[in-house]
């Protein structure tokens, strides 16, 4: 057996072994078409991380979205220099739990990304997400310099091009993990609004039309999975909040591969009507997702 042959055989055995022992995710994916997964899972009555464990299983397991060797970007809200007591940022435990599931599914790299609004090092510390992410072997992406962003065409109604974080260009899977909250300008901030933290120039959105630009961005990259943290939510003075009276305990979590469905359902939990939030409606109108919740398969779970 010469060297080349040896390498070939080893590789073949490796692939064979891989097929035998690791196809859980693949099997799940293959069965996805046959088995009817719900379009959206809504949970209540547990901690965010426990609800995620249950919910992700119901929707087909993380393996339905993340394959072995893939690179995953998780995009939480972590722009604010506030401690987890003020839910302006996503729960660090939830972000860590999502990252852990991705690692367990064999993801090569799990990147946590947000172009922080307040000074990144302070937000990283205060949010607790930096520490939590690194605890499960995820990478906290540097995002404070323009050099990390690359210009891409958007072709939206308003947003023609924008600079997005390089990790978004390289990743196989994008998981949007926002926290549900009120937003003074956009009405609500959920999954679609959350993705504004992937671009360098936020001011561009505001000057060209915030609502339209939020939905335009989904043309560049739609999240493969949306996990909405609705455990403790800011109901007014969003998106930063500040006083305890701004916060309500909803104790919920919403999981859906459809960003429009997830945002619609979550906005209704803040008392908004279906189609009331302009950027969600705009996204639905150009076919980036569905907001007709009545026609979707929704699983409601109370732990």
């Amino acid at each position: 057996m010469d060297r080349r042959e040896f390498i070939k055989k080893t590789a073949a055995i490796g692939i064979g072994a891989g097929l035998l022992f690791l196809p859980k995710g693949l099997r799940g994916a293959a069965g996805a078409a046959a088995q009817e997964y719900p379009d959206l899972v809504a949970l209540r009555g547990g901690l965010p991380e426990a609800m995620f464990d249950t919910g992700i299983k119901k929707i087909g397991g993380i393996g339905r979205f993340v394959r072995k060797g893939q690179t995953v970007v998780i995009k939480p809200n972590m722009s604010w220099d506030v401690s987890p007591g003020n839910p302006a940022n996503t729960s660090p435990a939830l972000v860590a739990q999502i990252a852990r599931h991705c690692r367990d599914a064999g993801a090569k790299r799990v990147v946590i990304l947000d172009h922080s609004i307040e000074y990144w090092e302070n937000s990283r510390k205060s949010s607790g997400i930096g520490e939590a992410a690194e605890g499960v072997g995820a990478i906290y992406a540097p995002a404070e310099k323009e050099g990390y962003y690359q210009k891409v065409p958007v072709g939206g109604a308003r947003l023609k091009e924008t600079s997005i974080h390089e990790s978004l260009l390289e990743c196989d899977v994008l998981i949007s993990a926002p926290v549900l909250k009120h937003h003074g300008g956009a009405g609500v901030s959920i999954s679609a609004k959350n993705l504004m933290g992937c671009v360098w120039n936020r001011r561009e959105y505001h000057s060209q039309g915030l609502q339209q630009c939020i939905s335009d961005f989904l043309r560049v990259r739609k999240p493969d999975l949306n996990v909405v943290d609705a455990y403790r939510v800011i109901t007014r003075n969003g998106p930063r909040g500040g006083s305890p009276s701004d916060v309500a305990d909803l104790g919920s979590l919403i999981i859906s591969p459809d960003v429009v469905a997830a945002d619609t359902a979550a906005s209704m939990m803040l008392g908004r009507k279906q189609g009331e939030i302009e950027h969600i409606r705009l996204a639905a109108e150009i076919g980036l997702g569905r907001m007709d919740l009545a026609n979707l398969k929704i699983e409601r779970i109370t732990l």
Binding site: Y119, N122, G209, M269
Partner: protein, 501 residues
């Protein structure tokens, strides 16, 4: 004879050790100024305490740094200049490298007497509230401005103004390449300490037997050795011991004044007597300049306080610089700031910039003052920027915002925005329903809660920007975060135990 053979070796070892310490301190300074990290800032705060000129600006006459600099000078010469001053060490490092490469030369230097006039002018300037000259020639301030320029060049955006104010630093280093520690002759701190060291009983001396071979002159970074006259100018010597590497072992450290054949030279005596008198004047003057002024001017803010108007509000005068939080008022700030640029180096968002008055002020063109950040006050060695705790800083108003609603993109373009209210840390800005267009919200501004952090101005997408910021004459305390005890027309949360969909 045994003595003369071992001593040069001891001198060599001490000289090497001294150079290591000096370069080590210099390296720490360079790191602290360029790092911008939390750890770097802690180090910078610590290092700045060693710079006695900065401490003096903060009226800290009775401080360890001042006592150590004065005492060591009175005892043995310019020890401070030898190992503590980064500006001195940097010149010497440049010169030593250049000499290795064959471009730098040694040799005796006789600096102009005019240098005393510069120091005198700087001292008088401080007392008369025109400290610009002192800020230009202060060694740590020169170094700080130089480091600021180096950092700006490294980060790829160096405004011409930063480069301009650091030009003296560049010139000094260029000269040092060829002629050694030339700035040290003109440095007011060095001159003051040098004059004090006229009293020093200890120092470098040339003993009898010297053949005036001139080797020591060539090795001296300060140019203070006169091998022909067999004299060493103790007011300029930094005790580097390079000259003690004398082939005949005729130069050493010991009791001074006993030059040549053990007699006090006429020249030395004259200069010594004259400088002793001058030392009392200059040394004391520089050491107390800022403090004398302080005594005359109260805390500097008296003139402002006496106007009787609410000075925490904006006013219609010539534009004032926006002082960093803790800078109180222009009087307080300018009577203490030594222009060392430590705060500029420490600011994580780089909005503290050297202004035309050489004292840093806030510049909101690129970023805004971070709500929970107190780094500038923590590194300031003089107290020009008081070290505020985070809670106090969050309530300190440095400027006042003004909203021009007609420019806002919501009213002008009919688009949703809310960028200002989003970033406003005290919720002085909030979004309220826009009556002209249902579904849209416009900003509403509650002035009493504004701390002037500049966030609204920086994020505003309107052109021209819908906000303008005016410095307040005196920094004051605000009530903190605006409480929300009213309904802003938001929908109620669904009253259900189940999901509303």
């Amino acid at each position: 004879m045994a003595k003369s053979s071992t001593r040069p070796r001891v001198y060599k070892a001490v000289a090497a050790a001294r150079l290591c310490v000096a370069l080590g301190v210099l390296a720490l300074f360079v790191f602290a100024y360029l790092s911008g990290s939390g750890g770097g800032n802690r180090l910078l705060a610590l290092l700045m305490k060693s710079q006695f000129t900065s401490v003096l600006y903060g009226h800290g006459v009775a401080s360890i740094a001042v006592a150590a600099a004065v005492f060591s000078s009175l005892l043995a010469g310019r020890v401070f200049c030898s190992v503590i001053c980064p500006m001195g060490s940097l010149q010497e490092a440049f010169w030593r490298i250049s000499r290795r490469l064959g471009t730098g030369a040694g040799g005796r230097v006789r600096p102009w007497r005019a240098r005393y006039a510069v120091t005198l002018a700087a001292c008088v300037g401080i007392i008369l509230s025109i400290p610009q000259l002192a800020l230009v020639v202060d060694p740590i301030s020169l170094f700080g401005r130089g480091m600021t320029a180096v950092r700006a060049l490294r980060d790829g955006h160096a405004p011409s103004f930063t480069l301009l104010v650091s030009a003296p630093f560049a010139v000094i280093l260029l000269i040092s390449l060829f002629r050694g520690r030339r700035f040290c002759d003109w440095c007011p701190a060095g001159i003051s300490l040098g004059l004090l060291s006229s009293f020093a009983p200890l120092g470098m001396r040339i003993s009898a037997g010297c053949t005036s071979c001139g080797l020591c002159e060539k090795k001296c970074p300060t140019g203070c050795v006169d091998s022909k006259e067999k004299e060493i100018d103790g007011r300029r010597c930094v005790l580097c011991l390079s000259c003690a590497d004398c082939p005949g072992g005729f130069i050493g450290f010991g009791v001074r004044g006993a030059s040549k054949s053990g007699q006090i030279g006429r020249r030395y005596f004259l200069s010594s007597a004259g400088s002793k008198a001058a030392a009392l004047l200059f040394g004391a003057l520089y050491a107390t300049g800022a403090n004398i002024r302080h005594l005359f001017r109260g805390r500097g803010g008296r003139a402002l306080r006496e106007t009787g108007e609410d000075s925490s509000r904006a006013y219609d005068g010539p534009p004032l610089p926006i002082l960093p939080p803790g800078g109180r008022n222009v009087g307080h700030y300018s009577s203490r700031c030594s222009g060392c640029q430590a705060c500029v180096a420490a600011c994580p968002v780089k909005i503290l910039k050297a202004s035309g008055r050489l004292r840093p002020s806030l510049d909101y063109t690129e970023d805004y003052c971070q709500y929970s950040c107190v780094e500038c006050g923590r590194v300031c060695p003089t107290g020009a920027i008081s070290s505020l705790d985070v809670e106090k800083k969050r309530r300190t108003r440095v400027a006042l915002s003004n909203l021009s609603l007609n420019r806002c993109v919501v009213t002008a373009k009919g688009q949703a925005c809310g960028a200002c209210a989003e970033v406003c840390p005290t919720r002085a800005l909030r979004m309220i329903p826009f009556e002209n267009a249902p579904g849209l919200t416009i900003p509403a501004f509650d002035e009493p809660y504004c701390i002037g952090c500049g966030a609204c101005l920086v994020v505003c997408p309107a052109r021209p920007v819908a906000f303008s910021l005016t410095a307040v004459r005196r920094q004051s305390e605000t009530p903190g975060i605006r409480p929300t005890d009213y309904d802003e027309g938001l929908p109620r949360l669904p009253e259900t135990d189940d999901f509303p969909f």
